[in-house]
Amino acid sequence: MILSLHIWLIPLLPLAGFLLNGILGARLPRWLVSTIGLLAPFLSFVLVLNAYALTSYSAVALPYVETFPHPWIAIGGLRADFSFFLDPLSLVMLLVVTGVGFLIHIYSVGYMAHEEGYARYFSFLNLFLFFMTVLVLAGNVLLLFVGWEGVGLASYLLIGFYFKRASAAAAGKKAFIVNRIGDFGFLIGIFLILANFGTLNFTQIAQVLTLKAAWHGGVLTAICLCLLVGAAGKSAQLPLYVWLPDAMEGPTPVSALIHAATMVTAGVYMIARTHFLFDRAPIALATVAIVGAATAIFAATIALAQTDIKRVLAYSTISQLGYMFLACGVAAYSAAIFHLVTHAFFKALLFLAAGSVIHAMGGEQDMRKMGGLRKKIPVTFWTMTIAVFTIAGFPPLAAFFSKDAILYAAFVSGTGGVFLWLVGLLTAMLTSLYMFRLWYMTFFGELRTADAHPHESPRSMCVPLVILALLSICGGWIGIESFSAFLAPSVGLHPAVSSTPHLELILTIVAVLVALEGLLIADKYYRRKTERPAQLAAAMPAGYKLLANKYYVDEIYDAVLVKPLFATSRYVLGWIVDTAILGGIAWLLAGIANLSGAILQRWQSGNLRSYAAWLTAAAAVVLLFVFHASIGTYLGARGIDVQLNLHWMGH
C-alpha cells in the first residue's frame, strides 16, 4: 500500500487560516484569532514532521510527488501542473519554514498583544506561510514562481503593516519594486528554460541534462545568470540588497520570519533547486560566488557603523546570505543549505531577542540609548548571548559548523578559492566584531536614557527565545557530513573533508581565532575604552561617514536610477508624449469632429420640405449615375424612341 502524506495540506492549512482571519478576524475575539493563527502553522508543522518520520523509516520513498489530477496550464507544448515535490531539500526547508514559522507565530501573540490590526497581522503571516510552502514544495519552475511572487506580496503587506507611517509604506513599496527588478530576470530565465528544454518540471529538466552530457555553458550560462538576478533580488544580494534594511520598518517578528529566517533564503533555495543548471554553467557559478563574497564583506562593513539595533541585524542577514551564495557558487549546495538552516535558528533568535529588547525599551531601537540591560531582562540577555556567540562562529554552536563547511568548501574550490576563503574569513572577523559591539552596547555599561523602564517580556515571547536558543546551540551538531549525505539525492555530495583532515583542522582553528579577535576588539572598544570608537571616527571622518551612510548606495541609486526615471516619466512621458502628442491627437480629432458637426448641422434644419428636396436631388443624382451611359446613347441616336438600356436587369 502506498501511503499518502497529504503534503498538499501543508500550504492549504495556512491559506485557510489566512481566509478565516482575513475575512472574519475583525469580528472575532483576540483569543480566537490567535488560536486560528497558531493552529494553521502548527498543523502544517505536524504534517511535515509526519512526512519526515515516514520517509526516514522508508515507509515512503523520496522524491515523493503529489499532483493535482487536472493540469494547471496546458497550451501547445507547455504543460504545468499543480504538483508538489518532496525530496530531502524541500523537506529540510519545510521543517525550517513551518518550525521556525510556528515559533515566531507564538512570539507574535505576545509581541503584538497591544497593537491594532491583530487579525490582519495574523492573516498576513499565515498568507506568507502558504506562499512560502508553495514555493518550497513546487514541482516546476512556474509554481515556484507563484510562491516566489506570493511571498513578495506577503512581505510587502507586512513591511507596510504600520501603513499610517509614511516611512513604512515607502519601505514596502521599495521592497516590492526592487524585487520586481529581480523577478524580471527570473522570468526571462523561466522563458529561456521553456524555450530550450520544452518543460518547466525540475525532474524533466534534470533528465534532459543527463541525456546531453556534453552540454555546457552557452545558453545555460544565460539561464543561470537570469536566475541569479532573481535570486539576488529576493535574497538581497549586491546590487539589489537595498530593500532589506528598509524592510525593518515592519514588526520585529516579521523581520525575524520573513526578512531573516525564511523568505530571503528563497534565492539560495532556488539556486540549490536548479543546481543541475548551475553545475553546467561554470561562469554563472563563479558569478554567484563572487556576488556572494562581495555582498558578505560589503554588508558586514556597513553593519559596523549602524546604530539602529534592527539595522545591524539586517546588514548581518545580508552578509550571511552572501555566505550562502558563496557556498552555492563553489558548488557546495549542502553547505549553503546547512548554513541556511542554522542561520534560520540564530538569526530568528537574534531578531526575536532584539524585539524583546525593543519591547523592554518601550519601542526604542537606537543602541546609543541602551546599555546595562543585562540584569533587567535576563532571559533576553542569555538567549541573545547564545545567538551572538553562535553567529560569531564559536564552537560548539551551530554556525561554527556551517560557516566552517562553507569556508572549507571555498578554500578547496580551485582557482580563486583561496581568495574567496580570505574574504569569507575577513567577513567572519567583521561579523564577530559588529555582533559583539551590539552585545556590549545593549547589555553592558549603564542605561543611557532616562525615558525607558526596562521590563522582561511575557512568557509567550520568552519560550520561543529559549527554544530557538537551544536550536542555535544544537542545530549544527548533526555535522556537515551526515547533513550532506541526507541532502545528496537532491544536490549532490559536499566535498569530502576526510580526504584532507589536517587542512580542515587548520582552517577551523584559523576561523575560531579570527572570531576571537573580533570579540577582543569589540571588548576593548565597547566595554573597556568606550571613548575610543568616537575618537577613531573623528580620526577618520571620511571613512566613518562612508560606513555610517552605507556607502551612499541609496543616494547613488536615487541619483542614477530613481531621479532620472522620475524625470523621464514626468517630463518626457508625461508632458511630451502624453500631454503634447497623445493629448494633441485627441484634441485634433475632437476638433475635426466638432467642425464637421458645425457644418453638417445646417442640413438638419428641421424643415420637412428641405429634407424632401435633398431626397429628390439625391435620387436624381443616383439615377443620373446609373443611367448616364444610356442617356449618352439616347442623345447620340438623336431619335425620338425612348430606348432604355435594360440589359443589366437580366432576363
Binding site: Q604, S605, G606, N607, L608, A612, A613, T616, H651
Partner: protein
C-alpha cells in the same frame, strides 16, 4: 393582354407614367399641406406602378405585375400609418403645414 390597345404605342404609357411621377415630385416638394404631400407620394407610387405594368407587358414578364401588388400593399399600409400620424400631429399642433412641424430641429 388585349386590354392594352394595339394602336397606342407603349411609349405613351411610359410618358404618362413620367408625367404623373414628375407631378408627384413637384407636389411633394412645393406643397405645404401635409395631406397634399401625402397624396403626392401616392401619385408617385402609382406612376411607378404604371411603368411596371408597361414593361411587364413589353417583356412578357409576370414579375412586374407581381411587383405592382407589392407596391399597392405597401401603399395601403403606408396610408393607414401615415393618416394616423397626421391625425395625431394635428391633435397636438393644430396645424397641417409641414413648415410648422419642425420639432426635430436642433
Amino acid at each position: 393582354m388585349s386590354f392594352l390597345h394595339q394602336d397606342v404605342p407603349l411609349t405613351w404609357y411610359l410618358l404618362v407614367s413620367a408625367v404623373l411621377f414628375s407631378l408627384g415630385v413637384v407636389g411633394f416638394l412645393i406643397k405645404r399641406n401635409i395631406i397634399t404631400v401625402f397624396m403626392s407620394i401616392e401619385l408617385m407610387l402609382n406612376a411607378v406602378n404604371l411603368s411596371f405594368v408597361t414593361f411587364a407587358y413589353q417583356w412578357h414578364e409576370v414579375k412586374g405585375q407581381i411587383f405592382v401588388f407589392f407596391v399597392m400593399m405597401v401603399a395601403a399600409a403606408e396610408a393607414a400609418v401615415g393618416l394616423a400620424i397626421i391625425i395625431a400631429v394635428f391633435r397636438v399642433r393644430a396645424t397641417l403645414a409641414v413648415d410648422r412641424i419642425n420639432l426635430m430641429k436642433l
